[in-house]
Amino acid sequence: MSYLNAADMTGGYGKADILHGCTLSVEKGQIAVIVGPNGAGKSTAMKAVFGMLPLRSGSVTLDGQDITALSPQDRVKMGMGFVPQVNNVFPTMSVEENLEMGAFIRHDDYRATMAQVFDLFPILKDKRRQNAGELSGGQRQQVAVGRALMTQPKLLMLDEPTAGVSPIVMDELFDRIIEVARTGISILMVEQNARQALEIADKGYVLAQGENRYTDTGQALLADPEVRRTFLGG
């Protein structure tokens, strides 16, 4: 049994379903990447895994435990961390406070983690007193990922973490994600920088119209000419 197992998720926002029996799973300490066209339902699937979307059918288990009915806060307490695609910072709080909020459920000393985040994203250290709402798009994205890392989650879910960040930061970020995974944390992420992402992925999902279209290792997907052509931009 995988660490995270979201099976057969079906559901949507209103009348029409967006997800049609979508299945995702991640092993402990591994990286799973979801790619797919815009509007495929990738973000929706992430929300569903996190309990932010009512499911009409399907189930989510974490570490063997059924969490389908848990609220998002309870999932956070169980060790899930999430960086949404949009609105992922607290705009009128300073960068430092944003990170503190990431550590909200922790009752131990989180200063070491914060130092690590600042190491990873040095610019944030300079801007620690500035409100997150006044940061540039890419800086904001860094705050968002940093906030999630502060939770020290067991499963980290990232919805397009590299959108809008510069190549150098993107490299760093992927690097860091590998490192994080190595410490035993499972990672589930959506990426449009698909080639780089699949490169580091243990498992890749191609989602289209709310369904799993292809599932394989990252390398295998990259090697599949059909996948490359239709989904990865040649």
Binding site: N38, G39, A40, G137, S166, Q192, G233
Partner: protein, 261 residues
């Protein structure tokens, strides 16, 4: 076409744009890259009239356009998209497009009472045009959806689509690519090239995807810490040491290989 001279924009004490001077040639697709926080979006915002510059000058075809209001710039043929999509959430996708053209006679109150025939004709034309754009962007199926319900990438497309509704002279694109599927991004890239060739649009493109920049843009301007760091052809820029250090990095591939070992 657009000339920026010694532009400074500060927020409180912080100079987000710090003496930037650059030029965007008519008919070019100019790339604008630089590390996060380099001041690219701020520069766009100043040019597009969202922010007042602290000092400096912007001219368009020799005419001083510093400090003009966004809607005035629109009428001069200067359009822009936003890094964070700014759709009209309660309008349908189609309406989002149809509202763009200016001087619609139906926008004058008096005409809505007495010029109804003319409005009908104009609307029909607009509708056809909007549908054409939607087809082009592969989101025709969403035409009657409220724009607020679109996915992140779809909003980006809509953002681009709006610039296609009128005959622009110059279009500023702030990270159209972020969050857009690469296959689609290629299509967008083709569209940009086509608009550039066929309709003579000038483009200024902010983007972090170097493939995209490399394929499309000439010249490429690199910004860092509020000013211009380098300028040249894409290939040229990618060799530039300073640019590599500040922005490009040494590349992911080497590292992943290291990691694998």
């Amino acid at each position: 076409m657009i000339r920026v001279e010694n532009l400074v924009k500060s927020f409180g004490g912080f100079r987000a744009v710090d003496g930037a001077s650059l030029e965007i040639a008519k008919g070019s697709i100019t790339g604008l890259i630089g590390p996060n926080g380099a001041g690219k979006s701020t520069l766009f915002n100043v040019i597009a009239g969202v922010h007042e510059p602290t000092s400096g000058r912007v001219t368009m075809d020799g005419e001083d356009i510093t400090g003009l209001k966004p809607h005035e710039l629109f009428h001069k043929g200067l359009l822009r998209t936003f890094q964070v999509a700014h759709e009209f959430p309660s309008l349908t996708v189609r309406e989002n497009l149809m509202m763009v053209p200016s001087q619609q006679s139906g926008e004058t109150l008096l005409n809505t009472l007495i010029g109804r025939k003319r409005i009908r004709d104009e609307e029909a034309a607009l509708l056809a045009k909007a549908d054409e754009v939607l087809d082009f962007l592969t989101i025709s199926h969403l035409r009657d959806e409220k724009a607020g319900n679109l996915s992140g990438g779809q909003k980006k497309l809509l953002e681009l689509g709006r610039t296609m509704m009128v005959d622009a002279k110059i279009v500023f694109l702030d990270e159209v690519g972020a969050g857009v599927n690469r296959t689609l991004l290629n299509t967008i890239g083709d569209a940009i090239v086509r608009l550039n060739r066929e309709r003579g649009y000038t483009f200024c493109v902010i983007e972090h995807d170097m493939d995209f920049i490399g394929r499309l843009c000439d010249p490429v301007i690199v910004m860092a810490e509020g000013h211009v760091l380098a300028e040249g052809s894409a290939a040229h820029i990618m060799e530039n040491e300073a640019v590599i250090e500040a922005y490009l990095g040494t590349g992911l591939k080497n590292k992943t290989k290291e990691a694998a070992q």
